[in-house]
């Protein structure tokens, strides 16, 4: 396989390199914004599960347009993995489901609350769909729990979600905290992928709700208005976002895009700074599988 083969297979991978984004995910956030204007007036934002950092790049670029003074803008990025530094982004390395990490984030927003919380958290998938969906939902709930501490009333929360068999449980839970909940699929996200994004607008916690980090938020159970099977499952409206003229992530495009006359291969913007277990991979490469 030549080095251009990934460029051929994935138009957004290629565009990300051309536009200087660390990951193709940048387009997902940009396309969500096209539909919902989530950056309007936003100065303070939290980027959960942020590595390698393309959403933080988008946030930096967009939020700076909202203010004359650079100092007004505050972006906190959190991930398990180390991330190459980005000017103007405060980084925290940690597990967002862990109390200590959550407290560190909350501390950053004592005083002034955040206008926007985004979370692109995805676990290392095991291949067992129910576990993967469960762990992903726990990342979302951990992010929601942190959100209840740091987000201003009326603020926006955007999070990745796996639309698996129990996703309606998450929908009904999010609806308790936000007036508007929709689920969106950016055009840069593959048709065949289970991922989508919930866009939750107008943060309004239930009356008397006291945020607590002491216990994790647990997901809902099926109940009368959200049945396991039947017509009463809690399903939120769906939106496809991104311009109709945007590139389509399932379509195979020629390396010479319409209107282009040359193509040049580009290296990735930011190679992973700590590729997981590199030395181990080297070690296991020569394992004789027939011993």
């Amino acid at each position: 396989m030549g080095k251009t083969s990934k460029d051929k297979r994935d138009i957004y991978y290629r565009l990300a390199k051309e536009e200087g984004w660390r990951a193709r995910s940048a387009f997902k956030l940009l396309q969500i914004n096209e539909e919902y204007n989530i950056f309007d007036g936003v100065l303070r934002a939290v980027d959960l599960c942020a590595a390698p950092g393309s959403w933080s790049q988008v946030l930096t670029k967009k939020l700076r347009q909202n203010s004359e003074a650079e100092d007004d803008v505050k972006i906190v990025a959190v991930d398990l993995q180390a991330m190459a530094p980005l000017p103007g982004v405060k980084q925290i390395q940690g597990d967002i489901t862990k109390l200590s990490t959550a407290n560190e984030i909350i501390k950053e927003f004592e005083g002034l609350k955040a206008d926007l919380v985004v979370c692109d958290g995805a676990p290392d998938v095991t291949g067992l769909h129910d576990i993967d969906e469960y762990v992903q939902s726990q990342l979302l709930l951990a992010a929601l729990n942190i959100t209840t501490h740091v987000l201003k009333n009326g603020g926006v929360f955007v999070a990745k979600i796996f639309r698996g068999k129990d996703v309606t449980l998450l929908y009904s839970q999010l609806k308790q905290f936000f007036s508007f909940v929709t689920v969106s699929k950016p055009r840069s996200s593959r048709n065949s992928s289970i991922e989508a994004f919930v866009v939750c607008q107008n943060y309004q916690p239930p009356d008397g709700y006291v945020p607590t980090m002491a216990n994790p938020l647990l997901d809902h159970k099926y109940c009368d208005f959200n049945e396991f099977t039947g017509p009463n499952r809690f399903i939120v409206p769906f939106n496809a976002c991104g311009d109709l003229s945007a590139y389509d992530s399932d379509t195979s495009y020629s390396l010479l895009l319409e209107g282009q006359t040359t193509y040049e291969y580009r290296e990735p913007v930011q190679a992973p700074i700590n590729p997981p277990y590199k030395e181990i991979l080297d070690k296991t490469k020569n394992i004789d599988i027939r011993k």
Binding site: G2, K8, R9, L80, D95, T97, K98, L99, P123, D124, T126, G127, L128, H129, D130, I131, Y134, V135, Q138, R163, G164, K165, V167, T168, K185, N191, I194, N215, P216, L218, K221, F228, T229, G230, P231, R233, I235, F238, N239, A240, L244, D248, D250, T251, S252, S254, L255, L256, Y263, Y265, P276, Y277, I280, K283, T284, K285, I287, I289, R290, K291
Partner: protein
């Protein structure tokens, strides 16, 4: 099969439990009980609801069992009884399923009616099982999300071992919030923890591919089953070991072994010092999810839906190896005889006979050869030994059949036809000798001499001699292989080949040729076995079996099922039906002299199968004997696809006696599986074909009773066409296949390489697209139009002609109409024309009149033109359309439904006048599913069946009346198959429908229709 088709579920096996001769397997939400002796399914219990089973935990007295998974657990009592002298069990569901508020990683019995469960947030819940009541919840201080955990009941507490997302295992006692210690060292998610407190041993497996063995680093005198011990002891990493090439999912500790299983389909057996004893490949490259062991056996459950039983002797008793000490001079060639003695040709120009019973050379025959270039061959029954030199001196010996084994010399002669370049037995009576200039002489014995039976002429080639020879049972037809990989077929009396099969195997030529039952089977050093059909003297290529070792030498049985060869330096014996390696011996490669036999021998009261290998290494004669019962794993439940099934079509035989499933998937295989209930329900893959990349679509066309055209397509722009025949041979259902077309839009890799000489080696700008869907439309007798929907937005047309003796496949046009990836197609008849619908990632639906506008004489006109237009176009869903169905309601009316990524189903009614839409009504429902709608089917009485990634199957009903079109919910049910990619209706009656949903596995179930 009795009339109602039973429930079938095949998916990941995520929990297993061994009880002597009985094994429990968690397949989806169902517990399956199997008898290991008869391989029979004894019982199925619907233990959980909408949740996979992850564990079976019997109580100490084995009278109750917890069945848990996800947030649920249920309890069944176990009734033991005797069937003859064998103990069998029956599960009686008693409690639950009870739904907890969090995911359960581990459950243990603490008292007779009390259990403790560890949740994914590091909380231990204690439940009273008779009152079905939560008694206590103990939170650990560290409640980050866990990936795995293990609970160990202590005398005075419960020990908790928690595996975190990041590297640490945290150990604490349930009654105390403060952790006791952390095991640090892994570099990734902890996937499993096993603990044996008696042995003071903890084993962890991780995302980082390692297995760690932990033990106490301090000496503590208090017993390990007390809290006191754990409060004082310290554990550290004793061994960090690597044996898997992917993530390590689970481990198990037996009396003297640690067993680990991984995503790489490998089972590793370790001793307690971390030394690897043995590795086994078990689940066709699928992940292994679960394991359990007792004193004798290991059982594993995998991502290929299979349940496999492994004898534990494999770890320590893998074959008996010996160097046979005998004065054999400098041996050059060795072979087994019929009675498994050994004939040895040595450098001293002697043929020796080694008696295996006596363990010594009993005879030495001096040969009077002139040349040191010698040829040796054994007849197919191994009784006759022929030795010749290049100068033509030939000796033939026979081993005596009875009494003392000896070698008798039959023939001693000198052949006078020039230099002898090759010599092979064809069957037991014919010696095929190839000399200079391609002269082939077939000899048979006559007294002490030989006579020429016939002569053939080998076509010109470099290295013009033979690599293998075969003969048919009537001794009329010969097939030989040459050094270019060709197979030539001769008939007695004709000098030149009546047929040459070109390049059947690689440049070393075929290694063996078998002619049998109107077919030729060849093996080669290109990792394949090829099958040809010889009916009526025409030769048809049928299929290739691809093996995962390069050098395939010969069959060891009479049914052409056990084959042996080499994978680099390792000798391999492979079972084709079960697709498993039986034996592997690192003996140093196939270039040395070696031979192998398979035989059955009585061992105490039973018969067992043996493989015996001899080989020369450093001039010594090595022997290895394998008792297969001690080393070979066996399927209790057969496996199938290892990854998602993308497409499936079922075929129910008319008498409903059996069902076929034709399926293609992400694992790049196309499989034809047979389900029947003759001897208890059984599902097995009867044929497996490989594509270069994932298979996205299969379509069939009925040619004849039980004979179909099968078209498959997918990634790397590949289309394959086969004819499949379902046969019932001696009461055994089989699938016969003939491969007709294997086509890639941009040429095969070989063709492309070949082209590089003249093509500039610059970047190829065209992407290699995926074929997303395909349709087969009959246009004339034996003539088909194949329409391929492609990811580069182009609709490609092909013309395919098929008749008994010829077929042709050629491109017939490209239609560039859509702007984005075409995801789905559907054809149906409307106004007696073939109508094609195409759907895209942007929710567009286009209708094409195939009969009038796209069939072959018209297509030429359209080749590469942009002006082929659909007669109707509309946009339904907000984004990609993943399922479509349509049908004619009347001469003017059509109803169609689309399901999309937007979780909506759109139902549309259209009235056409002369293919112009004159009326349209539509409705959209988006609350029947909460995820991508991937399957849609119309049934009678206006019913629509739909399915989705959300694992629900919904029945709804549309109505057209004065108010327009409506679609209403009727009923819904859940399926255990994750990642559902579609639905296939197997059969339909007025009361219900039997359907198959497929994705990560498949499920066949009945959907009741409303009254």
């Amino acid at each position: 099969m009795s009339v109602p088709i039973p429930h079938i579920i095949k998916t990941d096996i995520t929990a297993v439990k061994l009880f002597g001769n009985i094994v429990l397997a968690g397949i989806g939400s169902w517990a399956h009980v199997y008898d290991l002796v008869s391989n029979k399914l004894l019982q199925t219990v619907h233990a959980l609801r909408g949740q996979k089973i992850y564990g079976f935990i019997p109580s100490k007295d084995e009278r109750n069992i917890i069945i848990f998974g996800g947030k649920q657990f249920s309890i069944a009592s176990i009734d033991w009884s005797f069937d003859g002298d064998r103990k069998v069990l029956r599960l009686n569901p008693r409690v639950g399923p009870i739904i907890c508020d969090d995911w359960l990683h581990a459950v243990v019995w603490t008292k007779e009616e009390e259990i403790a469960a560890l949740t994914a947030h590091n909380v231990v819940q204690v439940w009273n099982t008779s009152q079905e009541r939560l008694i206590t919840s103990s939170h650990s201080k560290d409640n980050s999300i866990l990936y795995s955990g293990c609970l160990v009941p202590l005398d005075d507490d419960v020990l908790v071992l928690a595996g975190t997302v990041f590297t640490d295992v945290i150990i604490h006692a349930c009654s105390e919030a403060e952790p006791l210690m952390s095991l640090k060292g892994h570099r990734g998610v902890i996937f499993s923890i096993s603990c044996d407190i008696q042995k003071q041993l903890i084993v962890t497996t991780s995302d980082d591919r390692s297995i760690r063995i932990w033990g106490p680093s301090t000496t503590v005198t208090t017993p390990a089953n007390t809290k006191e011990y754990w409060k004082t002891v310290a554990y550290d990493s004793k061994y960090e070991v690597y044996g898997h090439t992917a993530r390590v999912m689970r481990s198990y500790i037996t009396d003297d072994l640690i067993i680990s299983v991984g995503e790489d389909s490998v089972v590793c057996f370790w001793d307690f010092q971390g030394n690897i004893l043995k590795k086994n490949m078990a689940h066709q490259n699928g992940c292994i999810w679960s394991l359990d062991a007792d004193r004798n056996n290991l059982v594993t459950g995998g991502g290929d839906s299979s349940l496999v039983l492994h004898p534990l002797t494999v770890a320590k008793e893998y074959g008996e190896h010996e160097i046979l000490h005998a004065d054999v001079g400098n041996p050059k060639k060795i072979y087994f005889t019929t009675r498994r003695n050994i004939v040895i040709l040595n450098e001293r120009d002697e043929l020796q006979f080694y008696d295996v019973e006596l363990k010594s050379v009993t005879e030495t025959h001096k040969l009077a050869h002139e040349s040191t270039y010698k040829l040796m061959s054994l007849s197919s029954c191994k009784q006759f030994v022929a030795v010749a030199d290049m100068a033509g001196n030939l000796d033939v010996f026979a081993e005596t059949c009875k009494g003392e084994p000896t070698l008798r010399k039959l023939v001693n002669t000198k052949l006078k036809f020039g230099k002898i370049l090759s010599m092979h037995w064809a069957g037991n009576r014919h010696l095929v000798v190839c000399s200079d200039n391609g002269n082939i002489t077939v000899l048979a014995s006559k007294g002490n001499e030989v006579e020429t039976v016939t002569n053939f002429f080998l076509p010109q080639s470099k290295e013009r001699w033979l690599t293998a020879a075969g003969i048919d049972s009537k001794s009329r037809l010969f097939a030989v292989g040459d050094r270019c990989g060709n197979v030539h077929i001769y008939i007695i009396g004709k000098n030149n080949p009546v047929k040459t099969l070109n390049k059947v195997h690689g440049r070393y030529g075929p290694t063996s040729i078998t002619i049998k039952n109107n077919g030729i089977i060849t093996t080669g050093r290109d990792g394949t076995i090829k099958h040809f059909d010889l009916t009526n003297d025409t030769v048809k290529y049928m299929k290739s079996i691809d093996l995962n070792f390069e050098w395939v030498e010969k069959f060891l049985d009479k049914n052409e099922n056990i084959v042996c060869g080499f994978q680099e330096r390792v000798f391999v014996v492979y079972d084709i039906t079960n697709r498993s390696k039986l034996v592997e011996v690192p003996c140093g490669g196939g270039h040395r002299s070696w031979d192998a036999v398979r035989y059955i021998e009585q061992i105490q009261d039973n018969y067992d199968e043996f493989i015996k290998l001899i080989y020369l290494k450093n001039s010594e004669l090595h022997e290895s004997i394998f008792q297969l019962g001690k080393i070979v794993s066996r399927n209790i439940v057969n496996g199938s696809h290892t990854k998602e099934i993308n497409c499936l079509q079922s075929h129910l035989l008319e008498d409903k006696s059996a069902m076929y499933f034709i399926s293609g998937g992400e694992d790049t295989t196309l499989r034809i599986s047979i389900y029947n209930t003759e001897n208890g329900p059984s599902f097995h893959d009867s044929a497996i074909f490989k594509h270069l990349s994932s298979i996205r679509t299969v379509k069939t066309f009925n040619l004849d009773n039980n004979k179909i055209l099968l078209v498959s397509a997918g990634g790397r722009a590949q289309i394959c066409i086969k004819v499949i025949e379902f046969k019932d041979i001696e009461n055994k259902l089989t699938v016969e296949s003939e491969e007709l077309v294997d086509y890639q839009v941009k040429g095969t890799d070989k063709e492309r390489k070949g082209n590089q000489n003249w093509k500039s080696c610059g970047v190829d700008f065209d992407p290699e697209m995926r074929m997303m869907d395909i349709e087969v439309i009959k246009v004339d007798h034996g003539k088909f139009l194949i329409v391929a929907a492609c990811s580069d937005a182009i609709l490609r047309l092909y013309e395919f002609e098929y008749s008994d003796n010829k077929n042709s496949f050629k491109p017939a046009g490209e239609i560039k109409y859509h702007k984005t990836c075409i995801l789905k197609t559907k054809t149906f008849r409307f106004q007696d024309k073939d109508i094609l619908i195409t759907c895209t990632t942007r929710g567009q639906v286009a209708f094409w009149n195939v009969t009038d506008n796209l069939t072959s004489n018209k297509i030429e006109h359209h080749i590469n033109s942009n002006d082929a237009k659909p007669f109707y176009m509309t946009t339904t869903n907000k984004s990609g359309i993943n399922s479509i169905n349509a049908k004619e309601l009347s001469k003017e009316e059509v109803i169609f439904a689309t399901g999309g990524d937007d979780n909506a189903i759109h139902v549309n009614y259209i009235k056409f006048k002369e293919f112009k839409c004159v009326e349209k009504q539509g409705t959209k429902v988006d609350n029947f599913h909460c995820s991508e709608v991937t399957g849609l089917s119309f049934m009678d009485r206006n019913l629509i069946l739909s399915t989705s990634i959300d694992q629900r199957i919904t029945l709804s009903k549309y109505e057209i009346n004065d108010d327009g079109l409506t679609c209403n919910f009727v009923s819904q049910r859940y399926s255990d198959v994750p990642d559902i990619q579609g639905i296939d209706v197997i059969c339909e009656t007025s009361d219900n429908a039997t359907v198959c949903v497929f994705g990560k596995g498949l499920e066949v179930l009945n959907v009741d229709k409303p009254r």
